[in-house]
């Protein structure tokens, strides 16, 4: 909400502070000021001047030489190119050394404005500049007298030599407020003025609204029937006849203009003025267009069509409240009037409507109709029905004051269920305990009285006025006390009471260790969105009927690309790798620790299984075995120290069929790794081999264990033996390792592969594999015979898988 301080000062006449002080103080009592703009910040030495004489410039066809009276003994010579200068005309004149806000073309305003100095224009001396409204930093939309182009003509009665900025209402500051949704009353000048008065301890002087109207009765002109009172708690209507449309007075125009509202004519301006002042939108219907002189407020029918006064056809439904006359719909309640009843220049009699509509209904209706107006924006917050009547009376008073028409006496006011002031028990003890303060009851009462929250000693209650629909309980009162006592004055303490242990749980710790280990291993952490496109399954070669495609859909996504909750972590990871690849970053290693979302059933009836996934990927240096090493180091750090097995047969369509494996621990699949399928790489635009690994954290967590038990360092010597065998090329070396483990049971300390090779000499389907085994007994020195027995058993085992000892 943007509001000029000059308007606030109308109601808080004693307000006396700098703009910065105002901003800080208001913000600290809860009316947050986002910023302010001093309209005259770049305007300096600008007075009213009257052109006495115009001469042609001897050397320039488009320039003229003016002798200008600025109230000094001597006339000022000014050369100008403005097209609309007349002798006797009065214009704003910037004197030598003064400043204006911008250029005459109305383009962007330079920081600090433009300095004006005397000088020569084509050889003729000029001692100042006459200016347009744009040069004063404003806009001709806000100054109806401004010409299409040229100097701004001041009023004929403007005193020569007077401060032109003052006369143009530009010695003003516009404040921008952020009003919180609970303070509907502050979406109005009066609401803010009330807060300002309370903040600075000044008196609030509200506009006096005299009784208005002639001896006629509005009810003789028109009748109102509210059929759907649930959506319209109050409906007030008054009638104005003998309308005389004219421009509104300067003061009204200036207050509107500085609020960002374009002055139009007295009637429109009055409506806008009261909407700003009271926060209550009003609507004016042309009385002569209202069939049967009857207003009916009721819901529309599904599929009804209606043309709003912007000329657009709107489709209605049964939850949209309409204002109707005896025959037809004439307005969408609280949103916009109809073309068929709009005020035109030859209106003679009009009906003012000031009503309260259900906020939620207006908000939802505006959304469905696709039309959010300033009025609907106010209604949707839920207005105080009491304001409806105050505002319409104020508007009629202004009609009389401005001579815009003859107000018909009486009012039609349909208000079946008046709102009540809310009452809350004042419990100073509780408020002090809530805030950590030590205030007296009287202090609290005084603070609240500043904003008209009155103490009723007979019941020991605080009575909140109807516009404070946010006051319901002790906590609400404590906020009122706190903000006027000052949040900054509330002490600063630390919680007392029983000590708590704090810390992270096991799952969190497992994730932290995994994340740290990934970083030790050279992987940097990425983050990607939880929602993605269903098309990613095609990119990743996931078959049509694969359960991975059963993703949770978002009802209102930002677009198809963000429409499903991911069921696999790969897309985010691989697209991040691809981004790096396209940007020519070499040897990139990334990981992400994030959830996938697996529905228990679709459509979703209960919360899905959110499974934390550690996804790692790289391209550049490294191969399958490098990634396998990463997985093993991770497992070791997580305390998964038993044997990991690799199942190469598991289907993973996004991985290279010959270079992939599921990671199996204690018989359970806890993840997978492999080279990305070349087609997937191509789909993502990675022209290199890329490797990924995914670990399902909940599965890994089941086995994770950070309890470490030291086992003694061996005291007795080890015996090492090498073995070199030939096997079928297709045989995984894992099979040989199984034999080594089986045969060596009890004394096998470790083994290591040290050679694999294939050659023509060995044969087309044969490979040679060599291992070193280390045997050791923990309690004594091994005897040769023991090791020999193991080796014999090993040979026997190996023969079962077709392995032959190499000679």
């Amino acid at each position: 909400m943007n509001t000029p301080i000059s308007w606030i000062k109308v109601y808080v006449p004693d307000l006396d502070c700098t703009n910065q002080e105002y901003r800080d103080a208001m913000t600290l009592t809860g009316t947050k000021v986002e910023g302010f703009e001093e309209l005259d910040k770049n305007l300096d030495k600008i007075v009213v001047g009257q052109v006495k004489k115009i001469d042609k410039h001897p050397d320039a066809e488009k320039l003229i030489i003016c002798q200008v009276d600025i109230g000094e003994p001597e006339l000022l010579q000014i050369v100008t190119g403005a097209p609309n200068v007349v002798e006797g005309g009065k214009y704003p004149v910037v004197l030598h050394g003064g400043r204006v806000a911008g250029g005459h073309d109305g383009g962007p305003l330079p920081e600090g404005g433009i300095k004006i100095t005397k000088g020569k224009l084509r050889g003729v001396e000029s001692f100042g500049m006459m200016c347009s409204i744009e040069e004063l930093g404003s806009d001709k939309n806000y100054y109806p007298n401004a010409p299409e182009s040229g100097l701004y003509p001041m009023e004929a009665d403007a005193p020569v030599g007077a401060d032109a900025i003052e006369l143009l209402g530009l010695h003003d500051t516009v404040f921008e407020y952020e009003i919180t949704s609970n303070r509907v009353d502050c979406y109005s000048i009066i609401g803010i003025a009330r807060e300002a008065a309370a903040t600075f301890g000044k008196k609030l002087v509200l506009p006096e609204v005299p009784a208005t109207g002639n001896s006629e009765k509005a009810s003789d002109y028109i009748s109102v029937e509210v059929k759907d009172a649930d959506l319209c708690p109050r409906y007030c209507a008054r009638v104005v006849k003998n309308i005389k449309l004219a421009p509104s007075p300067e003061w009204m125009q200036r207050r509107l203009a500085n609020s960002g509202i374009r002055p139009i004519n007295n009637l429109v301006d009055i409506t806008n003025y009261v909407m700003q002042e009271y926060g209550q939108p009003m609507h004016a219907f042309d009385y002569d267009q209202i069939a049967g002189h009857k207003i009916i407020v009721k819901r529309a029918n599904d599929g009804d069509k209606f043309v709003t006064l912007d000329g657009q056809e709107r489709i209605l439904d049964k939850d949209i409240l309409m204002i109707c006359d005896g025959e037809k719909e004439i307005g969408i309640a609280g949103i916009m009037g109809g073309e068929n009843s709009m005020i035109t220049d030859d209106v003679k009699t009009m009906v003012f409507e000031s009503a309260t509509f259900d906020g939620t209904n207006i908000r939802l209706s505006a959304k469905r109709v696709g039309l959010r107006t300033e009025a609907s924006g106010k209604f949707e917050k839920g207005l105080d029905p009491e304001t409806a009547k105050a505002a319409i009376d104020r508007a009629c008073a202004l009609v009389e004051e401005l001579g815009a028409g003859e107000v018909v006496g009486g009012i039609i006011d349909i208000y079946p269920d008046p709102v009540h002031e809310s009452r809350v028990k004042l419990e100073p003890e509780k408020i002090n305990k809530h805030l950590g303060t030590d205030l007296t009851k009287q202090q609290m009462v005084d603070y609240m009285a500043r904003v008209d929250l009155k103490y009723d000693p007979s019941t020991d209650e605080i009575v909140a006025p109807t516009w404070r629909q946010d006051i319901h309980c002790m906590a609400d009162l404590s906020e009122e006390v706190a903000r006027f006592f000052g949040y900054d004055k509330i002490p600063t303490t630390l919680p007392k009471g029983e000590a708590t242990m704090g810390g992270v749980n096991f799952a969190h710790r497992v994730q932290d260790v995994a994340r740290e280990t990934a970083m030790f291993l050279g992987f940097s952490e990425g983050m990607s969105f939880s929602f993605e496109s269903p098309k990613v399954y095609d990119l990743l070669r996931v078959p049509e009927n694969d359960p991975a495609r059963n993703a949770i859909k978002i009802m209102n996504p930002l677009g198809e690309d963000f429409s499903i909750m991911r069921t696999m972590p790969l897309h985010g990871l691989v697209s991040s790798l691809a981004t790096n690849y396209k940007r020519k970053n070499a040897n990139v290693r990334l990981f992400e620790m994030a959830n996938i979302y697996l529905p228990k059933a679709l459509p979703l009836t209960e919360l899905p299984d959110e499974r934390m996934q550690l996804a790692l990927g790289f391209y550049g240096e490294g191969d399958f075995y490098a990634m396998k090493g990463v997985v093993e180091e991770l497992f070791e750090k997580l305390g998964l120290k038993d044997k990991i097995t690799y199942d190469a047969k598991a289907e993973r369509p996004y991985l290279h069929p010959g270079r992939r494996a599921d990671v199996v621990y204690h018989g359970e699949t806890v993840g997978y790794l492999g080279e990305l399928h070349p087609q997937v790489c191509e789909n993502y635009g990675i022209d290199d081999r890329a490797y990924v690994a995914v670990i399902d954290m909940p599965s890994a967590m089941k086995f994770a264990d950070f309890n470490i038990k030291y086992t003694g360092i061996a005291k007795y010597p080890a015996v090492t033996r090498d073995i070199s065998v030939t096997v079928a090329r297709s045989l995984p070396v894992g099979a040989i390792e199984e034999c080594i483990e089986k045969a060596g049971k009890g004394i096998l300390e470790s083994y290591a592969l040290f050679d694999v090779f294939e050659s023509e000499k060995l044969g087309a389907d044969v490979k040679s594999v060599a291992y070193t085994m280390t045997y050791r007994h923990k309690d004594r020195t091994l005897e040769d015979k023991e090791v020999n027995d193991v080796m014999a058993r090993l040979l026997e085992e190996l023969s079962k898988i077709g392995a032959k000892l190499r000679d």
């Binding site: 913000t27 919180t180 949704s181 906590a475 949040y487 029983e498 810390g503 990425g526 929602f531």
Partner: protein, 340 residues
């Protein structure tokens, strides 16, 4: 005479040692004087020709000479070794300004770096870190937080809906309700995690971002405690000189509510480009848990009170590390990530 002979041998040996320049030379000297056929050894062999009563004395003289020569040989050898080592090291001099061979360590995401700092601060104050579901019931995300049906915050323009009852959580606050419902009091917890809002991606918005929720429930919690706790947090996160300012605000689930500003950590509060001349930077929202929320979560609001706060993690990361575009956080360009 033997004396003289011994003196000559000793002198000759020491002279040769002084002149010799390499280990081979030294060895030759050792052989020549002390070897089996060496000169000194010969003297010793001739001891049988010496009168028996003189033998001990002469033997002593020979051994003395031998010890001196041996000592000198050892000294010369050490000297030579030291010299040789010196020369080797000289030859081995390297250019220490050549590039280092680094281990390619990975880097944490800036969000994680910021989160770890936040977690460290609060776990140190006895807070437990608890996580909650990212896909959440409407009831927890809204109703139990005092946000009734038809509240504007529930609009589809802000909230991603899965269906009428289930949403992508728009805040980490539902974890408050979940923890309170479990009824284990007192509560001191923080809950970090992903949240979602229907905002298009731009330099300052993302439809998916992170928050850290905080909740304290105990018997005598006051707004003053809230101020003290968060002031401490701000100092630990942004530096000991950081001052805080609490401004009244509105959240449906806290009353009174506040926003907390911290003094700009670039200019210390004087006002600069970074804080847009304000001197202050808005950092988090907080407040006393609304008594109605306590009641809805089954906590006796006559006995217990509490405070809650919510911090945007990206906001902290962007501010603390001076990142000027939020989109960088989700691109995962390694050149960006490597800086953290």
């Amino acid at each position: 005479m033997l004396n003289e002979q011994l003196e000559q041998i000793k002198k000759a040996a020491l002279d040769s040692i002084a002149q010799v320049t390499d280990l081979d030379g030294l060895n030759e000297i050792r052989v020549r004087y002390l070897g089996k056929k060496g000169e000194l050894t010969a003297v010793l062999k001739n001891l049988k020709d010496v009168a028996p009563e003189d033998r001990p004395r002469v033997g002593q003289l020979v051994n003395d000479a031998k010890a001196i020569i041996e000592g000198e040989l050892a000294r010369a050898k050490d000297e030579m070794a030291a010299k040789a080592r010196e020369l080797r090291m000289q030859a081995e001099t390297i250019d220490v300004t050549l590039p280092a061979k680094r281990n390619a360590l990975g880097h944490a995401h800036p969000n994680t770096v910021a989160l770890e700092e936040v977690e460290r601060i609060f776990t140190g104050m006895g807070y437990e870190v608890i996580s909650g579901p990212e896909i959440e019931y409407d009831e927890y995300n809204f109703t139990k937080l005092n946000i009734p049906a038809n509240h504007p915050a529930k609009d589809e323009q802000d909230t991603f809906y899965i269906n009428k009852e289930i949403v992508l959580r728009t805040q980490t606050s539902p974890v408050q309700a979940r923890v309170m419902e479990q009824g284990r009091l007192p509560i001191r917890m923080i809950s970090p995690g992903r949240v979602f809002r229907s905002d298009e991606v731009d330099a300052t918005h993302s439809p998916s971002f992170h928050q850290v929720e905080g909740l304290v429930i105990d018997k005598d919690i006051t707004f003053a405690d809230l101020k003290g706790t968060l002031a401490e947090f701000a100092k630990k996160l942004f530096g000991e000189d950081t001052r805080v300012k609490f401004r009244p605000h509105h959240f449906p689930f806290t009353e009174p509510s506040a926003e907390m500003d911290v003094t700009c950590f670039k200019c210390g509060g004087k006002g600069c480009r970074f804080c847009k001349g304000e001197g202050w930077i808005e950092i988090l929202g907080c407040g006393m848990v609304h008594p109605h929320v306590l009641e809805m979560c089954g906590i006796d609001n006559e006995k217990y009170r509490g405070f809650a706060f919510g911090v945007g993690l990206e906001r902290i990361a962007l501010l603390k590390y001076e990142i000027d575009d939020m989109r960088l956080l989700y691109e995962n360009d390694i050149r960006f990530l490597k800086q953290f």
